[in-house]
Amino acid sequence: MTDHNVSDRAAIEPSAASAGLRVLIVDDHSIFRSGLRAELDADITVLGEAATVDAAINSVIDLQPRVVLLDVHLPGGHGGGGAEVIREAAPRAPHTLFLALSVSDAADDVVSVIRAGARGYITKSASGAEVSEAARRVADGDAVFSPRLAGFVLDAFGAVAGETAETTEELDRLSARETEVMRLIARGYSYKEVASTLFIAAKTVETHVSSVLRKLQLSSRHELTAWALERKLL
């Protein structure tokens, strides 16, 4: 993933690039779909909805939305849920980005969709405004990390134990700066707040988060899977 769309704007205000953002809602609960559809900001266009893995794959390929709001748990397909949708649909929808929505805090669920290629993860209890904001951020090429996902990343990469990466190529450990950013996000700071606390530009924070996401997707660190399986909660 490249950060081709990253702009220097503050995190909260909508940018011109994301106006008329086209999204697809994938969730097997019709109440949730309609609720989310009603709650999303006015400048977000919902192209359609899908309730199963197969329907979702078809819709993504047909509609080519910019962002897919993707439930982690989905019926149908080969039982792979949201991760399966990403794996199947992403190659044929090159400009589509995926934001995982989950009611679950289970690390293995979240990590499976992130590693399949989702650009972020938020819980379903997030408000419509929060979901809209997250969708915009994903559309701009940034990663969306919930505090819990940040906490998981810190744990899984051994950052708390003091492991830091020396080079940017290293995939299995976080750099010192990335660790700091993750720590603040885990504390509930927004990107903007992280930026002002660390005296860096908001864009730099986004770069760090994107780089962490890349590591989360590509790292072969065994803790990522072992930890997720062992511990039920994120």
């Binding site: 949730f32 609720g35 009611v103 679950s104 408000s127 003091g162």
Partner: protein, 462 residues
């Protein structure tokens, strides 16, 4: 060696001449060591009885380790012994108890009451019978009676072997046995004893022919079957138990998956619709938390264990406060030992709930403060590392300055700062992210935790 102290368990001390049997026996019964040794030597001249008895005790009595110092008689309760000793002696403890009992019963000491807890003392009776038979036969033959030793000796051997085998299996079933190699040797020994006994019985008979040999072979097979029966039974019941447990687990996973997909979704939706400050959202959240707790704590292996780690304590507090205030806590925990188990790893003790009791209390106060004065979304972040514990409570409220609090208000000063100071940690209040709200930061270095709470460490490591 204190001659006055009698021990309930007979063990062979580390300092020994040959096998440590005499020393153990002397220590156990209170008879002077020299006397025991002399009697043993003398008995050995009586057709080798002493030597035989010595060898038998050598085999059956466990070696006493450093942990197995002679226990005063009064302190002995089976469970105490089992928990206090290392695994090796734990495995052997009940065995020795029963063994010594049988032996002592024969020697004239009365210890019958000590073993009343045991349900069916079959093994003791068998061992006692074997010993009684041996003794009686020896005495009778000394007196000149015509005892068919060719029958008696094999019978004794068979009895002893069977008793030994049953006892080992009983230990195995009670779950006390951990040293599988030693156990195997003993079971094999018991089997060999039985086989040899039965063979002796027939082969040393008057006229060995083909039929006696066949009969002997059949008897050996039967004997082995009898001896291994408890083991097979145990295996069978274990298998059944495991199968049942797996079925239960699968059923539970099904229910969990279903609830996850339906009920939790609905609760999330209610919260989203109702807004964070409404009663409906609060109710839905409380329900969600309860359900989640049930789903996830139930699927953990050691479900009976209460949530004793710091992370769980924080989540519980968050839940309690959320019921009373319009607030939503996002509790994020990071680092070693914050996990579900507070088991044997040393880091786990850092986060065990009783260790940082004052930290939990201070955190609770900080969270209450945030709920009371700020409300809305409050982040609780816990990080445990080798350096110590760091906990922050961040709210988005109006913010407050320590200097502005009147000195008579004890809330923050005493319950947060005072507590942390006494626990050897520090507390700080600073403006929240971006200058809005409040962030309360509690830190506790590792050293203090381990120093003040050594006894907790001990109990949890056991």
């Amino acid at each position: 060696m204190d001659e006055q102290v009698r021990t309930e368990r007979m063990t062979r001390p580390r300092l020994r001449l040959v096998g440590g049997v005499c020393a153990g026996f002397a220590e156990h019964t209170g008879v002077p060591l020299a006397t025991v040794r002399l009697v043993t030597v003398l008995l050995s001249f009586c057709s080798g009885f002493g030597a035989l008895f010595y060898a038998w005790l050598w085999v059956t009595i466990p070696s006493g380790g450093a942990a197995a110092d002679p226990l005063p008689k009064s302190s002995l309760a089976r469970s105490n012994v089992a928990s206090a000793l290392s695994s090796a002696s734990v495995q052997a403890a009940p065995a020795t108890l029963s063994g010594s009992e049988a032996m002592i019963g024969r020697s004239g000491f009365s210890r019958a009451d000590a073993d009343s807890a045991r349900a069916a003392p079959v093994t003791e009776i068998l061992l006692g019978l074997a010993l009684l038979a041996a003794g009686g036969a020896l005495v009778a033959s000394r007196l000149g009676a015509d005892i068919p030793l060719a029958v008696v000796v094999p019978a004794i051997v068979v009895l002893a072997g069977t008793a030994l085998a049953w006892r080992q299996f009983a230990d195995m079933r009670s779950g006390a046995a951990q040293q599988s190699s030693g156990l195997l040797v003993r079971i094999l020994g018991a089997l060999v004893l039985v086989a040899v006994g039965i063979l002796l019985f027939f082969v040393t008979g008057t006229n060995p022919n083909a039929w006696t040999v066949i009969l002997a072979a059949a008897s050996v097979l039967l004997g082995v079957a009898v001896v291994t029966a408890p083991w097979l039974l145990r295996l069978w019941s274990d298998l059944a138990d495991e199968r049942a447990a797996r079925a239960r687990e699968a059923e539970r996973a099904d229910i969990a998956a279903h609830l996850h997909d339906s009920v939790l979704q609905t609760l999330a939706l209610i919260q989203q619709k109702a807004g964070p400050h409404s009663d409906a959202a609060r109710l839905a959240r409380a329900q969600e938390r309860e359900l989640r707790e049930w789903l996830f704590t139930g699927s953990r292996s050691g479900g009976a264990e209460p949530a004793t780690d710091l992370a769980a304590a924080l989540r519980r507090i968050a839940g309690e406060i959320e019921e009373d205030f319009a607030v939503h806590f996002e509790v994020v925990t990071v680092g070693a030992g914050v996990g579900v188990r507070s088991a044997a790893s040393p880091e786990a003790n850092v986060s065990s709930a009783d260790a940082p009791e004052s930290l939990v209390a201070a955190a609770r106060e900080a969270m209450l403060n945030a709920a009371r004065h700020a409300g809305g979304a409050v982040s609780v972040y816990l990080e445990t590392s080798a350096r110590g514990i760091e906990l922050s409570v961040t709210d988005r409220g109006p913010g407050f300055r320590l200097a502005l609090i009147p000195p008579d208000r004890l809330g923050v000063r005493e319950s947060i700062f005072g507590r942390m100071r006494r626990a050897g940690g520090t507390a700080a209040v600073r403006p929240g992210p971006g200058g809005a709200g409040t962030e309360i930061l509690l830190t506790l270095p590792t050293r203090t935790v381990s120093a003040t709470d050594e006894h907790h460490t001990e109990t949890s490591v056991r």
